[in-house]
């Protein structure tokens, strides 16, 4: 039965209203807005779903791994409540201030420590920094093939068949395990955790590993291992000069809009 690993990230809810979003330009950091909850990055939930569909069909073990700090247990345990078997949290001040390079390195080292794996699933990009490269980095460090972004994953013995999204369609790609795939929203909605899953997850203790636990070299972790340097972070200014077309009724406003668009030669 397949051993599967899913990499997940806890982030601030990306569906929060844009108005609640603030950055501190001096420290180049995002200010946590009051009232915005933490969630599992949506593409990562789809990565869990992709692994669960294989587990539903043929059994197997799913280990979720997350690197971060300030974990909210109810949030980061979501992979377990959805149906994953183990949760590994990589938590260490040494991991802080990292970029895609140091994050991919730490996750790859943790995956090596987990040991056997047939498939690794990631979300196509985390919905906070949208960097979209940790998955490729993990595969490169582990020396295994990777495909991104995918909308379907099938496993038959050691044969992997994936559908990779391309412009106006998809490629059907075959390979063999071990392989890494990054999953996109076209996979479909992730399942809601069932009450039984939530109860089981509540009882399950995550495994917590430090940089030393996974044998990570300090020089490759966190800020020390980062290669991209953030020069500036700012919120773009929007002009907001919308002319609202009014009318006695929505229908009248619609007619006025059509006339307006004609006047400015847009239709």
């Amino acid at each position: 039965m397949p051993n599967m690993i899913v990499c997940v990230k806890q982030i601030a809810d990306p569906e929060a209203p844009p108005g609640s979003f603030k950055v501190d330009e001096a420290s180049k950091k995002v200010n946590p807005a009051a009232g915005v909850s933490q969630v599992v990055s949506p593409f990562d939930e789809q990565a869990i779903e992709a692994a669960l569909r294989i587990k539903d069909a043929q059994g197997g073990k799913i280990t979720a791994i997350s690197l971060g700090s300030n974990f909210v247990m109810d949030v980061i345990k979501k992979p377990l409540s959805m149906g994953a078997d183990e949760l590994v949290l990589l938590q260490d001040p040494a991991f802080e201030g990292g970029d895609s390079h140091s994050t991919a390195y730490a996750l790859a080292m943790a995956i090596k420590k987990v040991g056997e794996f047939d498939l690794i699933f990631c979300g196509r990009q985390a919905a906070d920094w949208d960097a979209g490269q940790v998955s490729s980095g993990i595969a490169e460090i582990l020396g295994i093939p990777s495909v991104t972004p995918v909308k379907k994953v099938e496993l038959d013995g050691n044969k992997v068949t994936v559908e990779r999204i391309i412009t106006d369609g998809y490629d059907v790609i075959e390979g063999t395990t071990p392989m890494l795939v990054s999953v996109s929203n076209e996979l479909g909605e992730p399942r809601y955790p069932k009450l039984k899953g939530i109860m089981a997850a509540a009882k399950k203790e995550p495994i917590v590993w430090s940089a030393a636990d996974i044998g990570a070299e300090p020089a490759k972790c966190g800020a020390a291992g980062a290669r991209a340097k953030l020069e500036k972070l700012f919120v773009p200014v929007k002009e907001g000069v919308c002319e609202i077309i009014e009318g006695e009724s929505p229908e009248e406003a619609a007619v006025a809009l059509a006339l307006k668009l004609r006047e400015v030669r847009l239709i």
């Binding site: 949208d130 369609g169 998809y170 059907v172 609202i244 007619v255 006339l259």
Partner: protein, 332 residues
């Protein structure tokens, strides 16, 4: 590392032609090369590339490196990363640019890790720092709520993948001269671990979103597959393509292939009619190139009104039929 010179772009070939992103990268790359006083080169990978190298020269390249190999006929990560790794090690460019396309999203990050350098994906602006001469890589983060500027100080090449329609191509000049240099791919077929066994095209009827001058786009508020059909008569009248934000695609009301946004299509029409969509940053990332946005939404507080030129606060089910009738009268 100090020897790295020149701006290099990785071109893309779709169905035997240079993809639009190639001309955009050459346009943007030309400006960077000018600021640095360095040359601009293009790499074309594929099988049976033929005269496309000359076209890249006409669009601004000083040199074109052609890697022609049957193993590069269709994109696979292993073959393309290995071929690009060889080119980069031979030529040692200072800057290397990709498109944020299905190819670039897969190739650029893996190549960056192999070369031990960083890449910024989905850049919307690139510039040269006048002091350090480093590449300033501007990209939206947090779904477009903020912009971040990155630099890569310690490794070369400095890599970036550029969002579609973020850069303007230069006018084609067939009299430009340039050099075409073949490079052997040197691929080992056994090292290509994945194989494309089929390509499925999901062509949408009518005008392609990327090429459309008018787009009618529906959002979550449209409510159902059936109600989405209300947009069709208007689209037909205006010769428009129909798009959607992510929720209608995720809910199965429309095909995922018409999704506009951060993870969907990137469009740049003259007229963009946004129907019952809130205008999340993630969606706006796909249509920031639209020249005139018209918003129709029940919620006066919706973000889309901050982006629009004209708007109606009202129920689209009442607005759209009346609007369509009036447009028919005006343009019919």
């Amino acid at each position: 590392m100090a020897d790295n010179k020149g701006v290099m772009i990785c071109g893309e070939i779709i169905e035997g032609k240079l993809a639009p992103i190639t001309a955009e990268l050459l346009g943007g790359g030309r400006d960077l090369a000018g600021k640095l006083g360095e040359e601009l080169s293009a790499v074309l990978l594929g099988s049976g590339i033929g005269d496309l190298a000359k076209e890249a020269i006409a669009l601004g390249a000083d040199k074109v490196y052609v890697v022609d190999d049957p193993l590069l006929k269709t994109y696979t990560t292993d073959a393309y990363v290995a071929a690009m790794e060889k080119v980069v090690k031979e030529i040692s460019p200072n800057i290397l640019l990709f498109g944020t396309t299905p190819l670039g999203r897969d190739l650029a990050p893996r190549l960056a890790f192999r070369l031990g350098t960083s890449v910024s994906m989905d850049c919307t602006a690139l510039d040269i720092d006048p002091g350090s001469k480093l590449l300033l890589q501007t990209r939206p983060v947090y779904g477009g709520n903020a912009l971040a500027v990155f630099v890569c100080e310690g490794s070369k090449p400095q890599m970036a993948a550029v969002r579609a329609k973020a850069m303007d191509p230069k006018d084609r000049d067939d009299s430009r001269s340039g050099e075409v240099i073949p490079i052997a791919a040197g691929l080992d077929p056994a090292a290509v671990r994945t194989k494309v066994v089929n390509t499925v095209k999901e062509e949408v009827e009518g005008i392609k979103l990327e090429d459309a001058d008018v787009i009618v786009c529906g959002g979550r508020g449209v409510g159902s597959a059936e109600d989405f059909k209300m947009l069709e008569p208007l689209a037909k009248l205006l010769n428009a393509a129909i798009g959607a934000s992510r929720p209608p695609c995720d809910n199965g009301w429309v095909s995922p292939s018409i999704q506009i946004g951060l993870t969907g299509k990137i469009v740049g029409p003259t007229l963009y009619i946004a129907v019952a969509l809130s205008g999340s940053s993630q969606h706006m990332a796909g249509c920031s190139g639209a020249k005139n946005i018209i918003a129709i939404n029940k919620d006066a507080e919706a973000n889309i009104f901050k982006e629009a030129r004209f708007g109606i606060v009202g129920d689209f089910k009442k607005v759209i039929p009346a609007f369509t009738d009036k447009v028919k009268e005006l343009v019919g």
